[in-house]
Amino acid sequence: MRLSIAAFLLMLLLPFVVFAEKEAEPWSGADALAEQKIVEITGGEYKPWFSPIWEPPSGEIETFLFSLQAAAGAVVIGYFVGYFRGIKEGMRRAEAR
């Protein structure tokens, strides 16, 4: 467990150690880079034929919604892990009595 968490943290830090700033805009999204490549491959001909029906009005709001997504998922995971653990603990105490 401890080893897993240490490995997880190491993987998070690794990019900053390995990557020396080479690009004009470091740490941008891989999908934005792919978009550039599509423009290059098609010689700027390709225009997306459909655009998102709603876009987060600013980067802050987008970050907020992504955080909300992660938080909602984490609440569900935490709730059920705690619930199962509580059941186990309750059973253990009832047996001990």
Binding site: M1, F19, A30, E35, W49, W54, V75, I77
Partner: protein, 226 residues
Amino acid sequence: MHIMEGFLPSPWWYLWFIFTIPVLAYGLTKMRVLVEKNPDIKVLLALAGAFTFVLSALKMPSVTGSCSHPTGTGLAVVLFGPAITAVLASIVLLFQALLLAHGGLTTWGANVASMGIVGPFIGYAVWKLTSKMSTRVRVFLAAAVADLATYVVTSLQLALAFPAKEGGVLASFKIFASIFAVTQVPLAITEGIVTVIVFKYILELKRDVLVELGLLKKSAAGGARA
């Protein structure tokens, strides 16, 4: 990172829908049967769905100097197989397309195909093929491979839709894979680690349901207690 809205021309966007819809229908049926059999499985489904929700919201830096996010489908595919994983991933992708302008509705079919179906399916194959290894290693490999395979498929989808003028699909694939797949390698490893941590909790707390899902044999250590 998913294919952006409007970035798959005809016929590719609807071909991927044709590929995806039957798998989703099959996954939904399978899900219903499982839940009717044992309501406890509903809880595990929620857990696996939530895990995908969390992981696919985290845009993380990678060694290539760009950011991408894990898929979080490894846990679901180990527990339930690829068809049900497809259903869970499709919900996440719909949420992101509608509320985050991440991915898209027209590219939803293609993104479900990569993140929900083909990627997890390859991870599942790894899970099945490594049955002699320890559970921890198998979970790690299945999750990491499902993650990485997802982005190899995304690269292939884009390469098919946008073949290079010189060198065709293969040349394009190299370009897109250098963006998506290479960036994804460290993230796939991270995803494998996180999936192992969560799987360990489920193993500790819900061993009985795992036995019922056919993932563990009753005779396995601690089985009698559960």
